[in-house]
């Protein structure tokens, strides 16, 4: 597995606070991964299409607007619909504990709250993506 890991980072919905997403993107890139930053105002459809086009191993979505229960299940549904269920999905942002539980049950691999050291995210992604190979 000499191929570099490919990651798609993006924001869904209208929430424009993107520093966290960019910081995580940089940390993953610094750790040797190829990171595609999709930017703001993405729909679940746009995210999933970009993920497939770019052949990424993992999607990371940042959200602070509280609309995760609308968007995350939709991303998972579309991944399955396009037969791309092997693309992992992680998220970060302000997500209440009870939602974290149900989103993980649906298939989101991990949800990182604010104040998470980037090293924790990098280690998690490396671990997650090496297991499946």
């Amino acid at each position: 597995m000499n191929r570099k890991l490919r990651i798609l980072i993006g924001k869904v919905g209208l929430d424009g606070h993107e520093v966290g997403a960019r910081v995580v993107a940089k940390a993953l890139a610094d750790a040797g991964m190829e990171v595609i930053y999709a930017g703001l105002r993405q729909t679940p459809e746009m995210i999933v299409r970009t993920a497939i086009e770019e052949g990424v191993d993992l999607i990371g979505i940042s959200i602070l607007s509280g609309s995760h229960m609308t968007f995350f299940p939709e991303i998972l549904r579309l991944l399955n619909r396009y037969d791309a269920g092997d693309i992992h999905f992680i998220a970060g942002g302000i997500i209440p504990a009870e939602d974290v539980q149900s989103l993980k049950a649906m298939g989101v691999k991990e949800i990182f709250p604010p104040e998470t050291p980037t090293s924790v995210i990098v280690d998690f992604v490396k671990e997650l993506l090496s297991v499946g190979k």
Partner: protein
């Protein structure tokens, strides 16, 4: 210098102290850090003395002066809070207007002077509640507003003239935000003279931080400037534009660069207005600034003092302003920044101290975060505490009884002078790049923001930046539940209200008004009058913005990090 007299032989005395007193103490117990560095890169010294004032060539008359006079270091009012207490703002909004109206009435009953409407994201980017992009976002981070009807409900039984100010951000659609208040006033039987409107209406920072833009950069400058131009002639006591350093700092730039960038953004709007025939003293007093420093208590105090000096100088030297009101920088601040999700009650202490710094720095308009805001929409109790903290600061402990209480301190004056120099240098760098729009287009602002954001994250990861209960003395791991949730059924309710308004309004009048907006946007006229016509006719924010999208286009922000990142 001269007025801050230093006793004879002071250097020798200090040297002796260092050798006989300090030296042994440090030998016995070293300092807790090698260097005490601030977020803005300035080193904090062990002690400040008259020698520091000598080093910065401190001049009591020119650097400090008197409050209410150039360069306004000590404040913009001669007696400050003794006769003009700062305005207690409450930033609030969630769900749909009826629900929100109840909260507003409570905030006013608790003593809030100004209601700042927090509107939801679809509203902020000009989508109606029934738009495809609005799905799942209606009423989430603020209240949904589609038409004037929503404003009427929001302010039912709240006459605008009973508030010291009323506000919404309106960054991407300033003329519509302004028109909504003018038209709401009309519905309440009030003229613009009777009340005070305050808008953020600063679009340029949205392209580098916060992200609620609609149109491309250049037409957006006009949209922002038109609001100021309109008020300059029709409502001179309003606050049509608040130049925001806050979001630029929050995103990572650091307070110094953030203030410099925000000032450069202001200069861009002013240049445009001067180009349209306004005089500097006609428009400059209508701007205020939203400053921010959240990493260091004393830097925050000095930041405000320094920013006032820099702004006064820009207005006087660059724009040749004559009226002191053009040079006196009115400051808004928001007490927040270090709040944590873990042990959120601790945030009350953080917010209180942030607010105290801003008061000591001479703020005019202040609002506090609610301690639970990091978890979601504030609960009623938390919103009340946010107001109470300000009232305690204002009245209980003598904090507001003298002007610029820390003025003359060796530390405060040294730091103020250093920050002043930093802001001015950063401002000049932006000017050298061709001003705000060029600097944004060249990616200069964003690069500064990302450098700072990454540096902050590194210092947090290494434990240098302490967050109590999070990366030090951590005992809790469970993030509490956000106690207050928005009922998803509200989205449906809001869409129904929107449909009802559309059915009941005069369609022909709406179409005519929208055509007037289109025609004006295509020419050079001020956008406020046609927008006001459209708002009065109950055109929706989305309809007005769609017309402008048709004329100006939309901003495309797609960007690739590319291989290896940046």
């Amino acid at each position: 210098m001269g007025d801050q007299s230093k006793p004879k032989g002071f250097e020798e005395i200090q040297k002796a102290w260092e050798e006989q007193c300090l030296g042994p103490a440090l030998e016995a117990r070293p300092e807790r850090r090698e260097k005490f560095l601030t977020d803005i890169g300035l080193k904090i010294e062990r002690i400040y003395t008259p020698s520091d004032l000598e080093r910065i060539d401190f001049n009591c008359r020119e650097d400090l002066g008197f409050p209410g006079q150039y360069p306004f270091t000590r404040g913009i009012d001669p007696a400050m809070y003794r006769n003009n207490p700062w305005i207690i703002r409450a930033y609030s909004g969630f769900g749909e207007p009826k629900l929100c109206n109840e909260r507003y009435k409570k905030l006013i009953a608790w003593g809030a002077d100004e209601i700042v409407m927090a509107v939801d994201l679809p509203t902020q980017v000009g989508y109606d509640s029934d738009h495809l992009m609005a799905k799942g976002e209606v009423g989430k981070v603020g209240v949904a507003v589609d038409t004037l009807r929503d404003m009427e409900i929001l302010f039912e039984d709240i006459p605008l003239n009973t508030l010291r100010r009323v506000s919404m951000l309106g960054n991407s659609f300033g003329p519509t935000a302004l028109a909504l208040f003018i038209a709401l006033g009309e519905k309440q039987g009030l003229k613009p003279d009777d009340f005070v409107v305050d808008l953020q209406n600063d679009i340029l920072k949205e392209y580098v931080a916060r992200g609620t833009y609609i149109f491309p950069v250049r037409p957006s400058v006009r949209v922002t400037a038109d609001v100021v131009g309109y008020c300059a002639r029709q409502a001179r006591h309003w606050y049509p534009s608040t130049l925001c350093a806050n979001h630029i700092n929050a995103a990572g730039a650091g307070s110094t660069k953030a203030a410099a960038f925000a000032m450069a953004n202001g200069v861009c709007y002013i240049d445009r207005l001067l180009g349209s025939g306004y005089k500097i003293d006609e428009i400059a007093p209508l701007f205020s600034m939203f400053l921010d420093e959240r990493a260091d208590f004393f830097v925050a105090i000095c930041h405000f003092r320094a920013a006032r000096k820099v702004w006064a100088r820009i207005m006087k030297d660059r724009f040749k302003a004559q009226d002191p009101r053009s040079m006196a920088l009115k400051i808004t601040a928001y007490s927040h920044g270090g709040e944590t999700l873990l042990e959120p009650i601790n945030n009350i202490a953080r917010i209180t101290l942030a607010a105290l710094a801003y008061v000591l720095g001479g703020v005019q308009f202040l609002y506090n975060a609610s301690y639970d805001e990091v978890l979601g929409t504030p609960t009623e109790e938390a919103a009340k505490i946010a107001v109470r903290i300000q009232q305690i600061l204002a009245q209980e402990l003598g904090i507001a009884n003298t002007v610029d209480p820390l003025g003359g301190s060796y530390f405060i004056e040294t730091l103020t002078s250093q920050i002043e120099k930093q802001i001015l240098e950063e401002f000049e760098k932006v000017e050298a790049k061709g001003g705000a729009v060029s600097a944004i287009e060249q990616g200069y602002y964003l690069a500064a923001i990302m450098d700072g954001a990454n540096a902050r994250q590194r210092s947090f990861d290494r434990g240098e930046r302490v967050s109590v209960g999070v990366n030090k003395w951590k005992t809790e791991t469970k993030i509490p539940l956000g106690a207050f949730r928005i009922d998803p059924a509200l989205e449906k309710m809001q869409v129904e209200r929107l449909n009802k308004v559309k059915k009941e309004r005069n369609g022909k009048r709406v179409q005519e008004a929208l055509a007037y907006v289109r025609e004006t946007a295509g020419g050079e006229g001020n956008l406020v009058p046609p927008t006001l016509e459209a708002v009065r006719a109950y055109a929706t924010i989305g309809e007005i913005c769609d017309v402008l999208r048709g004329v100006f286009g939309e901003y495309q922000a797609r960007e690739y990090f590319g291989k290896g990142g940046r």
